[in-house]
Amino acid sequence: MRREEVEETFERYGPMVFRRARAILGNTEEARDVMQDVFMKILSGGLKNEGSVSGWLNRVTTNECLDRIRDKSRRTALLKKNFIPGERADTGHEDRAMVRAMLGEVDERIAGAAICVHIDGMTHDEASKHLGVSVRTVANLLTRFRERSLELLQSGAREQKETQ
């Protein structure tokens, strides 16, 4: 691929990919790395045009981010940072930090729904169109996300008590 083509693709889709990676990871440095990996995929395999380019890029970026979040050490760090029992604030920012930490703990479908609604701010209706599932399924996935989060918070609290 010619340098001009690389540059054009990067400048056109870069802001979107970078924005999504920042939103999911909450970290500029890691978002930058994810962006590089996403563009390696785009430039070596081409843009997929089923549906919309933005939809495809969102999925690729989300999967790359989830791979990172599933890294155990990072997840542990996030859990420690955000889930000290009794200290969790209920602001939007803190809630999103919680969502980010939990993304690595659930399967891809549940994580996808949580990202759409809790990170991207989609309505259930928008998320259902984005994910290609019914509104009811979105609601079910989000319920499972909340249940799993609660389960982990409780087991985290127990572990912390035991170590004290």
Binding site: M1, R2, R3, V6, E7, F10, E11, R12, Y13, G14, P15, M16, F18, R19, R20, R22, A23, T28, R32, M35, Q36, D37, F39, M40, L43, S44, G45, S52, V53, S54, G55, L57, N58, S73, G92, H93, R96, C116, I119, D120, G121, M122, T123, E126, H130
Partner: protein
């Protein structure tokens, strides 16, 4: 109910579109007319779009584009793996014994014992391998399987300027120069400190199957491949140098 956005703390009204709608709007894809007209008239939405652009503009885009260009374009013109047999390895080992003492001026580079497990400590040397197979380029994972004909490229992270050489050790212990790829004596290449440095050229894996290890050796001072040798599955390199390994299994 108003809500904050995911990154910058903009307060969004219930009418403000999600980030996915802004993505579509930004790429000039189909967006519902009501949402398009809201975005056009909403100062917060315009600020959200501007914030994306300015965050992206703050990156070192030229360096990133350059790295992407090298990783993709360079892979179409690989260098065949040169031969570097046992005889040369034996000579190298003898030379290594004579070149054992290197004087360190800077603090030594930290070696990277966990690299094969996929983790790397901050400040240590980094060694990444990219593989192209059937036209698709991917970051390779140490210990995974490769096929003859796969093309490899390398990326290094150096906490200090260093002279760098990559040697491959085949299952039978024979060495070959991977970077710089040459059948004769390879001189280590002086590189500046920095992350994500993509090394020029690519190597195509030959037909010989089995486990193979690539060793990135970085030294403060100039050296060449004669000072590197294989001994009982490990490589010997000049004192004071550091090494990072990448193991690959070549299968049919």
């Amino acid at each position: 109910m108003n809500r904050p956005d995911a990154i910058s703390g903009f307060t969004l009204t219930p009418d403000c579109p999600s980030e996915a709608i802004l993505d579509a709007y930004e790429l000039k894809e189909s967006v519902a007319p009501a949402q398009a007209s809201h975005i056009g008239a909403c100062s917060t939405c315009i600020a959200r779009l501007d914030e994306r652009k300015s965050a992206f503009s703050a990156l070192d885009r030229a360096a990133m584009i350059n790295a992407l260009h090298i990783k993709t374009a360079g892979l179409s013109s690989p260098v065949k793996k040169p031969l570097f047999g046992r005889a040369i390895a034996a000579l190298s080992f003898a030379a290594a014994l004579g070149l054992g003492a290197f004087i360190l001026v800077r603090p030594p580079l930290e070696t990277d014992p966990d690299r094969e497990l996929g983790t790397r400590h901050k400040g240590s040397i980094g060694f990444e391998v990219f593989v192209e197979r059937d036209g698709v380029v991917q970051r390779a994972i140490g210990g995974s399987e490769f096929k003859p004909g796969d093309r490899l490229r390398f990326e290094v992270d150096l906490p200090n300027p260093a002279h760098v050489l990559i040697v491959g050790v085949e299952a039978d212990g024979s060495l070959y120069n991977t970077y710089p790829a040459t059948a004769s004596v390879a001189s280590a290449v002086a590189l500046p400190e920095g992350s994500d440095q993509v090394l020029p050229g690519a190597v195509e894996l030959d037909e010989k199957l089995g486990s193979e290890t690539l060793h990135l050796v970085a030294c403060e001072q100039a050296f060449d491949s004669r000072s590197i040798a294989e001994r009982s599955g490990k490589i010997v390199f000049p004192e004071g140098c550091v090494e990072s390994r990448f193991v690959l299994k070549k299968v049919d």
